[in-house]
Symmetry: C2
Subunit: 242 residues, 2 copies
DNA sequence: GAGTGGTCTAGACCACTTG
DNA sequence: AAGTGGTCTAGACCACTCC
């Protein structure tokens, strides 16, 4: 898809790192070298390297070079989806999805959703409830809200497959960013039912509002994870700006 | 500190947004305009705008402009520290810090720490345990491990003030990035003591390994938060790279 | 001093949005 | 057609590291 040069360079180097061609603590070829091998300008190489740095593959050091900090084995420590990266990987895991409910409601029914999705009281929203099961046991219960006007064709079919593929491939919309919040809560009665088991009645709650690349709020998601099975992993860089 | 141009522009615009000069859904002046007002080249303006976008202040739209997506009121939804941003803000909150323990151990005593900090079995590490109290109640228990060689002068004094200031101002080291992992766990006996109360015996555990800008691992931190008081907030962008 | 990454410039061409 | 952001270039000067 992405035909620009710095992205191609990013792809090539990041898969070289994931694939083991460059290992942790290796130093990448210098920017000057990369300019030669890829036959592009230096700023283009630098865009690719900055992407690699932001995404936790390398650390650039003035006067030294770009050192690989990524260890492929870290990939497998992630057990459940909470980030976009993991959402994309959902299909590769053995979760089965069961749709519990898919209904239209007036937005005023859910005040928080109404505010988050920037809707009028009489606007219609989809409420979608799904169980994510692993080896027959429900690990995650997802509660989603979408603006009906933006997703006229939502169906149980689609909800059982990938909603994100439907959004991006069929509707031609582009997901851009999200705000997320994680808390720890006791299960409600309804949740105890949905998790159909009762040895531990606590959940990790991930609430998020997902926006498109035109900044429209698109999805309000409440994802309840069995607390004992939940793990959130994150890579972050410190911002030095003063 | 940071004397480069794009950072100054970033600072100016981000504080204009935080301060309410630009409100949510406002459109920033075009890149062309900003080039004129700041008297810099376009790529420099673009670096500042890209920073604003990465940090959740604006969304850039081809053909339209840069729209403000940041709402200052979101700032106050954060209740506890989990990110670098919040660590920097710790001093502005009314936590008091009590040092429970500060001792040297051979690294082999803590195998996970030894691996994470890349140490030999006989290398020495500091173990530091601190309670963070709010209105007399312990909300957070921090367990930290540092390489003694890198922090020869660590003391209870320093541990009660800001360790990060000591690291960056006194030792001249620069924090660059960290890997973080959040889980929810039942309290251990020791933790029940340290939290000196027992209405809810669950904690949110944030484990992180912090690295310097030369990629050396520096700190292994286990931060236990009273589960009922814990909230982690996050802004993230989806990467579109294929 | 040679090599590395960090910042900045002036200009070009393109794709998208809006009238 | 005019205005917007996205990509890319060729070159410059600087700060840092290592020998």
């Amino acid at each position: 898809m992405n035909l620009n040069k710095y992205n191609q360079i990013y792809q090539e180097i990041s898969s070289d790192i994931s694939g083991g061609k460059y290992k942790k603590d290796d130093v990448l070829p210098s920017e000057h070298r990369l300019v030669e091998t890829f036959d592009v300008s230096r700023e283009t190489v630098r865009k690719a390297l900055n992407l690699l740095q932001e995404n936790g593959f390398i650390q650039k050091m003035k006067g030294k070079g770009s050192v690989v900090i990524y260890n492929p084995s870290m990939d497998f420590t992630v057990s459940h989806l909470t980030s976009f990266k993991e959402i994309q990987q959902l299909k590769t895991k053995q979760y089965s999805t069961a749709v519990v409910e898919l209904k239209r409601y007036p937005a005023e029914q859910f005040p928080k959703v109404m505010v988050a999705l920037d809707l009028a009281p009489e606007d219609k929203v989809w409420q979608l409830i799904r169980q994510r099961k692993y080896e027959g046991k429900t690990h995650i219960v997802d509660m989603d809200y979408f603006t009906v006007d933006m997703m006229p064709g939502l169906s149980i079919q689609v909800a059982e497959d990938s909603i994100y593929e439907y959004i991006e491939k069929k509707l031609g919309l582009t997901i851009a960013y999200s705000h997320k919040e994680i808390t720890f809560d006791a299960m409600t009665e309804h949740e105890i039912e949905l998790f159909d088991h009762n040895d531990l009645s606590y959940v990790a709650t991930v609430r998020s509002v997902v926006h498109l690349n035109d900044a429209r709020p698109f999805q309000y998601n409440i994802s309840k994870h069995l607390a004992s099975e939940f793990k959130f992993v994150d890579f972050s860089r410190r911002f030095h700006g003063d």
